[in-house]
Symmetry: C2
Subunit: 170 residues, 2 copies
DNA sequence: ATATATATCTTAGTCACTAAGATAATTAGC
DNA sequence: GCTAATTATCTTAGTGACTAAGATATATAT
């Protein structure tokens, strides 16, 4: 096999591996959600809250791609489960910040332990330089996906080049 | 900052980056599905079919974690959209193989093009050795998630150590 | 032959989602 | 300051994908 072909094959393998692991990540998430007794979207929102800290309901809608109405439902369920708290912004009383309730989040952490241990074990097998390479790859991959998502949205949001406002009505 | 601390911080960054990109991957998938006009699960199944080739309905259920009833619906919709075909196994007529219809799949490929280009560009910036490192990481990450998923399922499937059929009734 | 097992499909009911509009608070124009 | 427009969340009605349980059809075992 030529060097170029070998490289193309390597990239194909990498693509498949990334897709497989991405799909498995989705399934893992669903499984955690089932175990906890909440929906996949609910868990996804919790995850965003963990990453970004206290955010408004509207921002959650943006981040997840759900409507604000759906987010209201998500927050209702998470709040009832004691996992998050609504906090009205005193400076702008229209806004509702959603904040995690760390005490109760602990009981979810339990379901990530096995995963966490496995991942740490994997990460530990790499040198600092290798970890940096992986971090850069993950970051750039994220940026690529974000850009592709925006591109796709713009394709779908402007599908009609205008109803062609005919100057002469038929 | 000590070396150990710097390394821990690096790992934390890597974890966040992986979670972010994983979340964005989910959103990208949802966006593609919306654009195509099918559900997220439908697209996920198509993706599995692309990776694994012709598979049975039951295997799709296993792979996605959906019930066989739900898979029937997925296949019905995909078949109606002309994206897959049901093929009864002549050797075991209970089985239904699901096969992609490549001609019609092309119109979906269009929505992956931008993403694909971005990813190829990213991959090309790495040496063969680096690509191998990334492939290994993705593969091991997949295996870790798979194991964690199985572990989680066993936690939930055997939550009660049996009604304890006591040998000596109290 | 009959029973059991396997693979998919059907049915009834549930739950999260969207679209549209209601409510409430803020900002802008006059 | 008063009215209009804007922003942020919530409410409501209706839709669609999902699960659980059981039906159907085929295959294997005793």
């Amino acid at each position: 096999m030529s060097r170029a072909k070998a490289r193309a094959a390597l990239m194909q393998e990498l693509e498949n591996a990334l897709r497989r692991s991405s799909a498995q990540g989705v399934i893992f998430g669903q499984t955690v959600a089932n175990t906890v007794g909440i929906s996949g979207s609910d868990l996804e929102c919790l995850d965003f809250l963990n990453l970004e800290g206290r955010v408004t309901a509207g921002r959650l809608a943006e981040m997840t791609g759900l409507t604000t109405g759906a987010i209201t439902g998500v927050i209702d369920r998470l709040e009832k489960a004691g996992l998050v708290r609504r906090e009205r912004d005193p400076a702008d009383r229209r806004k509702v910040f959603i904040a995690i309730v760390p005490e109760n989040l602990a009981r979810i952490g339990r379901f990530y332990e096995h995963m966490q241990r496995g991942m740490v074990k994997l990460w530990e097998s790499y040198s600092d330089a290798e970890l940096k390479l992986l971090l850069e790859f993950a970051t750039k991959g994220y940026e690529t996906m974000l850009a592709a998502t925006e591109e796709l949205k713009s394709m779908v949001e402007a599908p009609r080049p205008k109803p062609a406002k005919k100057s002469k009505r038929s």
